[in-house]
């Protein structure tokens, strides 16, 4: 039995070798630019800034996955970023203290190393916690929340409240977390002097490579059956249930992956920028990255990465010229993108490519 089509249907052009190689070609070009050209051309200060943008791009990648693909508007990624950052920061502080108490604890009148800190002296434990702590928290939260079918704006507000609460917790525990100042004054990482340009250049390469690998991994996930399922959950969670899948599990796994990425980014942020503090991971920084992902294009992973780098660069450049004006420009950009190009820069590029084909 054949059923006739009623509407004429535009056939998608068959994938030729040209269209098939386009993606890898772009990726390779960007990789060469990031790994070879940038370290050669940029002065150390600018390269350090680029490293920071790329760190944020890792968080953005996770947001792209959770929000763009999975429809979960995560407004509190700063929490996971912070968990990763503090895990790394605690380890660096302990190494630097060489068996004594970290400096800020002495100033706060703490006399004995808190039990929470002890295992972080072990680099393997600290590095594992960088990823595992955020993933565990996200899994616990997701299991609780998604099973109760909390979604949409309610979920978004919940994550944001979590970020706000996390900041209050960090500030309140002065002796344990360094309070408002956070953890800073890092001098070395695995025996390397962090003040050296050479160390910072290696760090930049590490960040770029980690971002590249995570991007490829996330892309693989998006193109897998799981990725199709994730999109299906985004567009029709109830329908997915009647296909025999539990959407809560799919969402929890994705949320945990995005949290793990944010944690890893937080850990890389610490040696690159030299500080981790509550101000860097509260509601505002969390929102800024969501805005960046929206501007770059949340439905494409590359758009999320691009958004983080572009907005990071724009923030630095603009703030150098007009201090304090950035917030308005950022808000205006967000409104502009949301009303005129809801698919962001990536959506505009894709549309142009289709038109020129």
């Amino acid at each position: 039995m054949t059923l006739t089509t009623e509407r004429p249907v535009a056939k998608t052009p068959p994938a030729t070798w040209r269209t098939r190689l386009q993606g890898p070609a772009v990726f390779a070009t960007v990789a060469v630019l990031a790994l070879v050209v940038a370290p050669l051309l940029l002065e150390p200060f600018r390269l350090g800034l680029l490293a920071k943008y790329l760190v944020y791009a890792i968080v953005a990648l996770g947001i792209g996955l959770a929000w763009g693909q999975g429809g979960m508007l995560v407004l509190g990624q700063g929490v996971f970023f912070g968990l990763g950052g503090y895990a790394m920061g605690m380890h660096l502080k302990l190494v630097e203290a060489q068996g004594d108490l970290p400096d800020f604890m002495v100033w706060s009148g703490v006399e004995q190393l808190p039990a929470l800190w002890e295992p972080f002296a072990n680099p393997v434990f600290a590095l594992a916690m960088v990823v595992l702590a955020p993933m565990a928290l996200a899994t616990a939260l997701g299991a609780l929340v998604f099973r109760q079918r909390v979604r949409g704006a309610y979920f978004a507000i919940l994550t944001q409240a979590l970020a706000a609460a996390f900041v209050i917790l960090l500030i309140g525990q002065q002796g344990l977390t360094g309070g408002t100042n956070g953890l800073t004054n890092f001098f070395e990482l695995f025996g390397q002097d962090l003040a050296l340009d050479e160390t910072q250049r290696v760090l930049y390469i590490v960040v770029a490579v980690v971002l590249g690998l995570l991007y490829l991994g996330a892309r693989q996930l998006v193109n897998s059956r799981f990725g199709r399922l994730l999109v299906a959950v985004r567009d029709g969670e109830d329908r997915v249930r009647f296909l025999g899948y539990n959407p809560a599990t799919v969402k929890t796994v994705t949320f945990a992956i995005s949290a793990g990425m944010a944690g890893l980014a937080g850990a890389l942020f610490v040696p690159v920028v030299g500080i981790i503090s509550p101000a860097l991971l509260g509601v505002v920084p969390s929102l800024e990255l969501v805005v960046a992902v929206a501007v770059g294009g949340r439905f494409a992973l590359a758009g999320a990465v691009l958004g983080a780098v572009v907005m990071g660069y724009a923030k630095t450049t603009f703030s150098e010229q007009f201090a304090g004006g950035w917030l308005y420009l950022q808000g205006a950009l967000f409104i502009l993108v949301m009303t005129l190009a809801p698919r962001g820069i990536a959506g505009l590029l894709r549309r142009r490519r289709k038109e020129t084909r």
Partner: protein, 252 residues
């Protein structure tokens, strides 16, 4: 014949309103059963209870050896009960074949979904040919017409190889041509599946139904072949009491 679905003394209450009131229904293995009744008779509610969307106030729903009441929607699907909705809800951002593949993969553990789809599985191939959507396999589902969407949804059910299919008004909003094609599809499916169809359309019923259960105000009014049901004075009365046109349709 063994009973596949056995509903006993089922009641559903919404905020004090009794939508289903002591319904008994038995559907045998391999049967094609039509559920009809005027608006508000409780047809869709009955389907909702079987599939776990609505919790009953009292009564039992047995499916083979399992009790379905109190189970979650996806668990019931995993036991082998599939359904469509009045308004088709396919995944527009996925292609036709991806929609089918997603439906067919539901028994795989989650980690096994991490790989890319390579080629087309047998179940998907079968669903494509049965529904006649082969030509559109790689198109995004959003370009499909209303009828094609319904067929895709039925195809997704088939790809899951369910033991019981529940179709909620499959021909609502379809053109005459689409209706008869859906009828052919239904006949084809009913050959090797147990199917329950909720339908309003009397013409469709006359052409494709054999066994019919009539619901009225939450109760089973009568059961039997199409001829028996149409000849039943109580059925005529129910439809007469409702709307002249519908009644003419039903008894003609």
């Amino acid at each position: 014949m063994t009973a596949l679905l056995e509903i006993r003394d089922l009641s559903v209450v919404f905020d004090g309103f009794t939508a289903i009131d002591g319904v008994d229904l038995t559907v045998d293995q391999g049967e094609l059963r039509f559920l009809i009744g005027p608006n508000g008779a409780g047809k869709t509610t009955l389907i909702d209870v079987i599939t776990g969307l609505t919790k009953p106030a009292a009564g039992a729903v047995r499916f083979g050896a399992d009790d379905l009441t109190g189970r979650k929607e996806h668990e019931i699907v995993r036991l082998g009960v599939g359904r469509t909705f009045q308004t088709s809800v396919i995944f527009e951002e996925l292609t036709v074949v991806e929609n089918l593949d997603l439906a067919a993969s539901f028994r795989r553990p989650l980690w096994a979904l991490a790989g890319r789809r390579r080629g087309i599985s047998e179940a998907v191939e079968h669903a494509l040919t049965t529904t006649g959507l082969d030509e559109l396999a790689n198109e995004h589902a959003r370009v499909l017409s209303h009828g094609q969407r319904q067929w895709l949804e039925i195809g997704m059910l088939l790809a899951q190889r369910p033991r019981l299919l529940l179709l909620d008004e499959p021909v609502a909003g379809m053109s005459l041509d689409e209706r008869s094609r859906t009828g052919e599809l239904l006949t084809e499916i009913a050959k090797d599946h147990t199917v329950i169809v909720v339908e309003h359309d009397m013409d469709f019923l006359r052409r494709y139904a054999s066994q019919v259960t009539v619901l009225h105000e939450g109760r089973v009014l009568t059961e039997g072949s199409v001829e028996e049901v149409r000849a039943n004075p109580k059925v005529q009365e129910v439809y007469l009491g409702r709307a002249r046109e519908e009644a003419d349709d039903a008894v003609r």
